[in-house]
Subunit: 138 residues, 2 copies
Amino acid sequence: METMSITQATERLRTSGIPVTLQRVEIARVVLSFPTHLSADQVFAKVRERIPETSRATVYNTLKLFREKKLVRELIVDPERRVYDSNTSPHYHLYNAENGQLTDVCADELQVIGMPSLPPGLQLEEVDVIIRVRTRRE
Amino acid sequence: METMSITQATERLRTSGIPVTLQRVEIARVVLSFPTHLSADQVFAKVRERIPETSRATVYNTLKLFREKKLVRELIVDPERRVYDSNTSPHYHLYNAENGQLTDVCADELQVIGMPSLPPGLQLEEVDVIIRVRTRRE
DNA sequence: TTCCATGCAAAGGGTTTGCACTCTC
DNA sequence: GAGAGTGCAAACCCTTTGCATGGAA
């Protein structure tokens, strides 16, 4: 599997109603080519490899934009940083705080049942399930 | 329902193997008297009302200590701050990002099934379920 | 005396903001 | 020429750290 082409990334942005710019295309290629769990700063570093004239602010702005347009999910798992998840199909997460590793758990494998009916006036946004693990100690 | 007494708080600390100090007693009273979802700074402010000679560092240290001793759970729900949950029985959370309100959902009402068997060498720490909602828009 | 526990202020790290410049429509 | 997108650096906020003081065993 390889990084999506510039053409593909451009198409992806247009489909989502996002005005195309050089930086946005590259950010899309970094984030959307594979299922990833990258922090904003990791995205920033990768984008810089190809497009050094990219600022941190632009990366933060763009990731926020991608989130609003549902291209990525913002995960709040580690208090140190937010990570952006390009897997938009329903799934949950397994998190090892010791090494920061985050793994997808397919929604088929895990079900949340008995979802309480929401108080009127509230609308379900999403359900996060985080399975926190650590390395077993003897 | 009212704030637990100094005696009760002291007892609670001793039971948990935490050396008793003035500040820790007051922090315990603030956090453990009721089911709460307070940030470190909210705890800091409340503790200061009674014991003004309390530093932010002490509150942070103490909350970390309480967490290690399982007196509270640290919730990672809002990227802006960690909140400390004094409800130690199994339960999940409903979170409204618009106003920051966090509500407990009893574990009886909601079940997570099909928990994947963990890879060898990993130990389950806990499972967080966060139901993210927002105010319904017409 | 030897540890903790604490207060205070500074540092740290991720994220946001303010402002000027550029480009596009 | 108005508005959006961007780069840069500074500001911000929550949390941690370093260091000196104070107390308890």
